[in-house]
């Protein structure tokens, strides 16, 4: 029992942080939001070179994985730097592609960052993230014969049914489509929501796809939780810096107790989400991951509210970079499972916390 990141994991986080700091992610986000993915794709390759996507890809297919703890470490950093794109979706895609044929065909490209994937799963909502920029769209359709352990694919009567995994290779991949048509704007300008294209190539079919979709959902939630935690940590950092600099009534606003205490509460929220995230990465139990997802997203969102309030009007402007994190925090809260769905899942098991026996 040593529930702490080891030196290698901490060094990995630090090197990603350095890479992303140097990359000036806010300007990458802004061009991504404006429909020009060139800088985003370039950054994507560098993130892949650092090994991030390989963490979700098995060694047999040129990955390092699956390594959920390291993946969580990486996604905290990606969230901290608001890296744009279907990051979570690419991880979900990697865990969907388990049949040898499709795995061999796509996983090495995903691991290397040459392929950007986006995904729609049963129950994941009507849109695919950044479908206009991704190279491939993966869609799982059909009911689920699975246990519904992830909460995504609970089928009515529980009769087994057959899922289908379909692939659409995006025409002219890498060039973004203009909004309008099937692209919808998100309240987070960096998230481009797309209606899935109909049809596509049938990659696989069978009941196992339902459990594959469940597993993909667990990975997506873990990555989202980590990303949200990173977003929240960045919001807290930026706000702490700001309140030390901004003066009113002749003193820094950070000396007012009403300000200090809001930030202390934000810190508490984030620091208690962190162990849930890494605990979930260790167990990959769907209920643990759901708990981490709801807690990290709520903490990040609460921090976003605090960050905006304490910045005053400047925080409410699109020009000021804080907005990139603020809108992300809101969007992630509903992505890959609403707070309510996640909480439901936590209580779905008959023995909930397992009390004292849990860690044994």
């Amino acid at each position: 029992m040593r529930f702490l990141l080891d030196a290698e994991q901490t060094a990995f986080a630090r090197s990603l942080d350095a890479l992303l700091t140097a990359a000036d992610t806010p300007s990458v986000v802004r061009s991504w939001s404006a429909g020009d993915p060139t800088a985003g794709r370039a950054l994507w390759s560098r993130v892949a070179d650092a090994g991030v996507f390989a963490l979700a890809v098995p060694e047999a297919y040129e990955g390092f994985g699956p390594r959920p703890v390291e993946l969580a470490v990486a996604f905290v950093e990606l969230g901290r730097h608001v890296v744009p794109g279907p990051l979570v979706e690419t991880v979900a895609a990697a865990s969907l592609l388990t049949d040898p044929g499709p795995a061999k065909r796509f996983l090495p490209g995903l691991a290397a960052g040459e392929t950007v994937a986006t995904v729609a799963l049963p129950g994941s909502g009507p849109y695919m993230l950044d479908g206009d920029v991704a190279d491939v769209e993966l869609t799982v359709t059909g009911g689920s014969g699975g246990t519904g352990a992830s909460g995504a694919t609970v089928s009515g009567a529980g009769e087994p049914s057959t899922g289908e995994l379909r692939l659409t290779v995006v025409p002219g991949s890498g060039s973004s489509e203009a909004p309008g048509g099937r692209v919808r704007r998100s309240l987070d300008p960096a998230r481009r929501l797309c209606l899935p294209r109909p049809g596509g190539e049938l990659l696989a079919a069978g009941p196992h796809l339902a459990s594959g979709a469940d597993a993909a959902l667990v990975w997506a939630r873990l990555a989202t939780a980590a990303q949200a935690l990173g977003v929240g940590l960045a919001l807290l950092d930026k706000t702490v810096t700001y309140v030390k600099q901004r003066s009113q009534f002749g003193v820094p606003i950070g000396s007012f107790q009403a300000v200090r205490h809001r930030l202390a509460d934000a810190k508490i929220g984030l620091e208690f989400a962190r162990p849930l995230l890494f605990g979930a990465a260790l167990t990959m139990d769907p209920a643990d991951v759901a708990a981490a997802k709801v807690t990290a997203c709520e903490a990040a969102y609460a921090t976003a509210r605090t960050a905006l309030q304490l910045h005053g009007a400047i925080g409410y402007t699109a020009e000021y970079d804080l907005s990139l994190w603020l809108t992300k925090a809101r969007a992630l809260r509903g992505a890959w499972g609403t707070p309510q769905q996640c909480r439901e899942l936590v209580l779905a098991a008959d023995v909930v916390s397992g009390g004292a026996r849990r860690c044994s």
Binding site: R2, A264, G279, D288, R343, E344, S353, G355
Partner: protein, 402 residues
């Protein structure tokens, strides 16, 4: 990064569980905040101590098992899961003992710790005064030098369980004219039935009389009952208080057990949809607190001091505890208003106590637990004070006006 306990730790868990299975009283004891309950809980401390389960992390020489922090956490998980009684000895065990380990003399440890471990001597904390709450350093009780010791005078208040306890520890002003209020204080121990001590019980919000104020009129304390150097009392008291608040004041086992009981209550009430999210949050919160503590323990074992991080968990558990109990009362509807022990078919409550588990789904207890939980944001340093510590020492924000 790993959450599995070693086989030896698991063997320790099994041993603790087996012992608790046999020894935990079948029904709850009367509240330890009453005279009768105090005696019953003292006997329970003795039973724990007889098989060296009362202070597992202490050295064997003083009645412990030298178990280390992780096994202490494991023990606490088992303890609360088994529904074992609240710990009447906790003030001494959690607050005084660590101070003696760090600052006491060998003679003091040998004299004071074994009877503390067995419940033979139960300790009360006498820190607060009527004019010195959050601003503890403004305390005015005096220690005046006399032959072979000190004479204590003044008033202490809000001293938990002092009505029935045997001895107390606290800070006294031994040098009246120091430039700063936290200088010139001395940390001393005194008998609650010594000549010159008047103990006046105060009814708490729940009416229980174990809380007390203490009037001291030239109470003699021999030199051997000074902890650390005279005049250095503030440093002595603070060095361990923060540490202990961080790791041992509220063990996660307590909240894991309460969350399980709440979830059971929720299922009994037909998976009430209106409280579902709050019940889920209680379950998640217990897990978060457990994992947060495991991370803190891991850092501690790596040699890092606990430090101001302890303020994060003080605020967390105290607010968590209220939310958990509020949820239970809301689930119970009209019955939520009943003071413990009255629900049809329910077992009598443990008698909430500073450390007692709430009686669970099987009746009563929740209301008493709720009333006790309300004190959490006030004692052990109010949550406002903790937020100030977080702001200044963890976030690096400028000092505010106090």
């Amino acid at each position: 990064m790993d959450l599995t306990h070693s086989p030896a730790d698991e063997a320790f868990r099994a041993e603790a569980r087996a012992w608790l299975d046999v020894h935990v009283p079948a029904g709850p004891l009367p509240s330890l905040e009453t005279e009768e309950g105090f005696a019953a809980h003292r006997a329970w401390e003795a039973e724990l101590a007889a098989d060296r389960w009362s202070v597992v992390s202490w050295p064997a020489a003083y009645g412990g098992r030298d178990s280390g922090l992780l096994r202490w956490l494991v023990f606490e998980e088992e303890y609360y899961a088994a529904g074992a009684p609240g710990r009447v000895g906790q003030n001494g065990i959690n607050l005084l003992a660590p101070t003696l380990f760090d600052h006491g003399t060998e003679e003091q440890r040998a004299r004071i710790l074994p009877p503390m471990a067995s419940g033979e001597v139960v300790w009360a904390q006498a820190w607060s005064e009527p004019e010195a709450g959050s601003d503890l350093a403004s305390l005015r009780s005096r220690a005046v030098r006399t032959d072979g010791g000190w004479l204590l005078s003044g008033q202490k208040t809000w001293s938990s369980r002092a009505a029935f306890a045997d001895r107390a520890f606290g800070l006294f002003r031994s040098e009246p004219d120091t430039p700063k209020p936290h200088q010139g204080l001395t940390y001393l121990m005194f008998g609650l039935r010594a000549p010159g001590v008047t103990v006046r019980p105060i009814g708490r919000l729940d009416g229980k009389p174990a809380f007390a104020e203490l009037f001291l009129d030239e109470v003699f304390v021999p030199d051997e009952d000074v902890i650390g150097e005279p005049g250095q009392g503030w440093r002595v008291a603070m060095s361990t208080a923060g540490n202990e608040r961080g790791l041992t004041l509220r063990s996660p086992g307590r909240f894991l057990a309460s969350a399980d009981r709440l979830a059971a209550l929720w299922r009994e009430h037909g998976r009430d949809p209106f409280t579902r999210d709050r019940v889920a949050d209680a379950v998640i919160g217990a897990r978060a607190y457990q994992l947060f503590t495991y991370a803190a323990a891991s850092r501690f074992l790596d040699g890092e001091p606990v430090g101001p991080e302890s303020s994060l968990n003080k605020v967390f558990w105290s607010e968590y505890d209220i939310a958990l109990h509020e949820t239970a009362l809301d689930l119970l509807g009209g019955d939520g208003e009943l003071a413990g022990g009255q629900m049809a078919g329910g077992r009598a409550p443990d008698g909430e106590s500073a450390d007692g588990p709430s009686a669970g789904a099987d009746g009563g207890g929740w209301a008493e637990g709720y009333v006790f939980s309300l004190a959490g944001p006030i004692y052990a340093g109010t949550n406002e004070i903790q937020r100030d510590i977080i702001a200044e020492r963890l976030l690096g924000l400028p000092k505010g006006r106090r």
